[in-house]
């Protein structure tokens, strides 16, 4: 890249990148978020305030420079995880370790962490302040971190040109004067303005047309390389996730079902849910149309999730034990699967046998 200077050279304080490339950029341990359903005085008296178990003990790592794709059905907690990572909401439990430091510890203040982690939202319109010009929107972040106004504006303009919007034409515009694709580019520029190391993209391309989606995906790939970024890429479009991700994490009802390298996972899904999800992708072959839906019904309610393995209610391979035992997410050659079939001695009849061989 001719113009890009790797962020390590200039970004975070020197020597902060500890542990070398093997050390994950971000480690999430037992992250939990329960939302209280509106509780009132009376309900407290009567008892039975319910909670939404939006994220219920999630563990994962993001390596430096990789793209971690996150897939899963609506309501499985993808966005909540992202918002937890951004510290937009406080976790009910669990910790987030960034670059070897626990977030919120004296070594890594929340403020400093926030500079290094940025987010792009799905709704390109509502993520821009309608009363600010896009240049001001982009320049806001750096200014918060002490960059003088003039300089922040200069940076905003160079970023605009970098994401393919000619600053001269676009810098002074308001969000409603841009198309969806253009707005999403602005959002990306805004996220990059603070020179983050990790960018969380929550359905960042889902609202875009296919032709525009391709443009934005290309841009994301370029920027990643140019600035040495790490992405957490959330999407329900499996094709896109497969295309962009190095590793993929599959979530189901607030839990991680499976993690693994993208190609391997798509080629050979371990978890029955992953398999079902992948086979729900429409085929692009008119001669081999899908004949039967892999799963029936909608995902259960996170207010009252099923016991044991959360997937057992819809799983074609479920046995009695699945409703009693909570599967453990275990790492076996880069693949992590939370399924009793993959857990030797779990009590499941298929436990230990390679599922794809059956």
């Amino acid at each position: 890249m001719s113009t890009g200077i790797s962020i390590e050279h200039i970004g975070a304080p020197a020597g902060s990148d500890r542990g070398g490339p093997a050390q994950p950029l971000l480690t999430v341990n037992k992250l939990v978020k329960h939302f209280d359903l509106k509780k009132s005085f009376v309900e407290t008296l009567v008892g039975g305030g319910k909670v939404v178990r939006a994220v219920d003990g999630v563990d994962f790592k993001i390596m430096k420079g990789e793209t971690l794709g996150v897939v899963g059905e609506s309501g499985c907690g993808k966005s909540t995880t992202a918002r937890l990572l951004m510290h937009l909401i406080d976790p009910s439990a669990g910790e987030i370790v960034f670059n070897g430091e626990t977030v919120g510890s004296p070594q890594l203040s929340l403020r400093e962490y926030r500079r290094q982690v940025q987010m792009v939202f799905q709704d390109s319109y509502s993520s821009l302040n309608p009363r600010l010009t896009i240049q001001d929107s982009i320049a806001f972040g750096p200014q918060v971190h002490g960059v003088p106004k003039q300089e922040a504006v200069t940076r905003a303009r160079s970023l605009l040109s970098r994401v393919g919007l000619e600053p001269r034409r676009f810098a002074g515009r308001y969000p409603h004067e841009l198309s969806g694709g253009q707005r999403q580019r602005v959002n990306i520029a805004r996220a990059l303005a603070c020179e983050p190391r990790l960018v969380i993209l929550d359905e960042a391309v889902s609202a875009l047309d296919k032709s525009v989606e391709a443009q934005v995906l290309n841009l994301l790939m370029d920027l990643k390389e140019e600035f040495g970024l790490t992405y957490l890429f959330i999407s329900h479009d499996l094709h896109v996730v497969r295309y962009i991700s190095d590793r993929v994490m599959v979530m189901y009802l607030g839990k991680v079902a499976e993690t693994g390298p993208a190609e391997a996972l798509f080629q050979e899904p371990h978890h029955p849910y992953t398999r079902a999800l992948l086979s729900s992708m429409p085929s692009m072959d008119p001669d081999h149309r899908t004949e039967q839906a892999a799963l029936a019904g909608d995902p259960p309610n996170p207010i009252d999730p099923p016991s044991g393995c959360r997937f057992h209610t819809r799983c074609p391979l479920a046995e009695a034990v699945c409703s009693q035992r909570v599967p453990i997410l275990e790492n076996r050659n880069q693949r992590e699967t939370a399924c009793l079939i993959h857990e030797p001695g779990s009590g499941h009849s298929l436990a230990g046998t390679a599922i794809h061989a059956s």
């Binding site: 359903l37 509106k38 009132s40 005085f41 009376v42 309900e43 009567v46």
Partner: protein, 317 residues
């Protein structure tokens, strides 16, 4: 549902206490001596103090509040300084009359308001809409007490079609729902209905336009419903909100009738308030306002509950 109701009621309690305290404060923020009005010009200081004591004005305010509130809870709002009658009987009698008038006015306002609103919302941006909208803006813009005076001049003094003042030939005590009595209500009710009419018309117009812009209306059309069928759907969708607005308007009329009742000598709470203010009859002022505010709070509660019941979209827990 029952939880919702309970919660709503429990939530009302602190508000009611606050309201009561506010009413109580009214006496204390008012300058001048509440006894002035009944004291003869040359009452001796001794007589003044004697009456002070009699009415309990010599004790510290918190004691007075506790006392007053406790008694208010038992329905005893004290004694009117001016008339010597119990405030609660005075107010209750007046509330009945005001309620009657306000309900009538709300009804008129609701009928015409929703008529204008529906027409305007249905034929949005046509001349019908403009006329109906103009009428509703008129409704919220006209000083209604003035309108009342104009109506009296025209219909009572000049044409002698309708009586000008009072609540029936034999007073409100002998009220009956026949023309001999109802004619007394016509002018004040029409005057009073002007504001709710305007507000309901505006609300309904926005509601209808909003509903008509929703996708489901296309859905209804797509399944072959005629305009009449769609109209029924619009009505059912608009009803909870429109009724809620109507309920709130009734509340506003209950509390806002003072000017109209003064103009028409209608023996309601507004009339009572007016004389309470001008005679500086603080217990009466306090009591009337407390009762009206209570009505308003309860009405709000009812509207809320009603709306929740009527509108399946509102989640009930």
């Amino acid at each position: 549902m029952i939880f919702y109701l309970l919660r709503r009621i429990v939530y009302t309690i602190p508000i009611m206490i606050g309201v009561a305290f506010f009413c109580f404060l009214l006496v204390h923020i008012s300058p001048g001596d509440p006894l002035v009005s009944i004291l003869p010009p040359d009452a001796s200081i001794e007589l003044q103090q004697q009456l002070m004591k009699l009415y309990g004005f010599d004790r510290p305010w918190y004691e007075q509040f506790a006392h007053w509130f406790w008694r208010a809870l038992h329905g005893d709002l004290g004694t009117s300084i001016a008339s010597g009658r119990s405030v609660s009987t005075e107010v209750m009698r007046a509330v009945g009359n005001t309620l009657m008038l306000s309900c009538m006015a709300t009804l008129i306002g609701f009928l015409f308001g929703s008529l204008f609103g529906f027409v305007a919302g249905y034929f949005r941006d046509s001349w019908v809409d403009r006329v109906a909208s103009a009428l509703s803006v008129l409704g919220v813009s006209v000083p209604h007490y003035w309108l009342g005076m104009v109506l009296v001049i025209i219909f009572s003094s000049q044409l002698m079609w309708l009586p000008a003042t009072g609540a029936g030939p034999g007073g409100s005590g002998e009220w009956a729902w026949d023309w001999a009595h109802v004619q007394f209500m016509v002018l004040p009710a029409i005057t009073m209905s002007v504001i709710p009419m305007g507000i309901i018309a505006r609300t309904v117009r926005a509601l209808v336009a909003d509903i008509l812009a929703q996708e489901f209306v296309v859905g209804l059309r797509a399944k072959g419903l005629t305009d009449l069928g769609i109209f029924l759907h619009v009505v059912k969708n608009a009803a909870p909100t429109a009724l809620a607005v109507m309920g709130l308007q009734l509340g506003y009329l209950l509390g806002g009738s003072i000017l109209i009742e003064t103009v028409f000598s209608w023996p309601g709470t507004g009339f009572l308030l007016n004389s309470a203010i001008f005679q500086r009859d603080m217990p009466l002022l306090q009591g009337t306002i407390l009762v009206l505010a209570t009505f308003f709070v309860v009405l709000n509660l009812m509207v809320d509950v009603l709306q929740t019941t009527l509108d399946p979209r509102i989640q009930r827990s």
